[in-house]
Symmetry: C2
Subunit: 181 residues, 2 copies
């Protein structure tokens, strides 16, 4: 896992440098691991603006302006594509240097509701995907994590690693295929 | 290193729970690793508000209001006790739920100026340490990291881990000794 982590992070760092693109992250379930992994690459401070690790719902709203009606149980909830996209758009709005945002939110358990256990939503949003473009180039992924340790700390560690790795891998794919307008 | 990480993070999580305290982080050089390590503890979402990973100077200012005159070369610079404290105070100001902030900033190299190479500043600021209290209970640490790999990625990985571990260890000590007003 560690190795693929590093390779995916290296690819993202290389693609950002090749395109001269600055990235901002918004992380909930991964707790900052995507950012910490990317930050191991020398020179990344030119291309990684930062990561808003918004662990609690109140922080999602205070820092990124995620609407309460998305977060509420009566709405989509924090583990949803809608929340991931709102986090990404909030990060872009607060980071003028960034041209692209990736956001991730999920439930790692233990004690998650069955329908949310190990579920992760990722949204990738380029700055060009504003209302006038109709959301073109916005990418959503829903993951169901496979890690299933019976030890709760180990479970969270494995799921954190698996989710960060998948996010970096898909961001690398996105960057490799993306043609900015 | 991994093991002591985990132990320090567990102690911090336990102390936060015991005291019913919510923590906010502001990380530069560690890139989110302190937050990601803490987040491996089940139940931590009750006590960890989030982490503002402000990797670039522009993000330190945009997200946390760190004054440009601290960040400029003619000022203290981003690797300084003054920057760490400003990051912590900025995080507290933007996170109403948090009662305590830890901020960290440093230079991991490669190609750091000699006097900043491996230097890390940590600030721990409780909400009670506002102007009227004269900064009582604010804690500063300056670290000189010992990791010195010749491989630049490995160097950054080791320094990230060492800095995160030290920050968690000192936060655990602070919480163990602290008597909130």
């Amino acid at each position: 896992m560690k190795h693929s982590h590093d390779e995916s992070a290296r690819r993202v760092a290389d693609e950002l440098a090749r395109r001269g693109l600055r990235l901002v992250l918004a992380e909930s379930c991964t707790g900052g691991l995507i950012s910490a992994t990317l930050a191991q690459n020398p020179g990344i401070s030119e291309f990684l603006c930062g990561s808003a690790v918004v662990y609690r719902n109140a922080t999602k709203t205070a820092w990124l302006g995620v609407p309460a009606d998305i977060l509420e149980d009566s709405g989509y909830g924090p583990v949803s594509a809608q929340c991931a996209e709102a986090m990404a758009r909030g990060a872009l709005a607060r980071t003028p240097e960034a041209m692209l945002a990736l956001a991730i939110t999920g439930h790692f358990g233990p004690n998650a509701p069955t329908e949310l256990d190990g579920v992760v939503h990722i949204a990738i949003v380029p700055r060009s995907a504003d209302a006038s473009h109709g959301g073109k180039d916005v990418m959503h992924h829903r993951l169901l994590l496979t890690s299933n340790s019976s030890d709760p700390v180990q479970l969270r560690r494995e799921r954190q690693s698996e989710a960060a790795n998948e996010a970096l891998r898909r961001l690398g794919q996105y960057l490799g295929a993306w043609t900015p307008e």
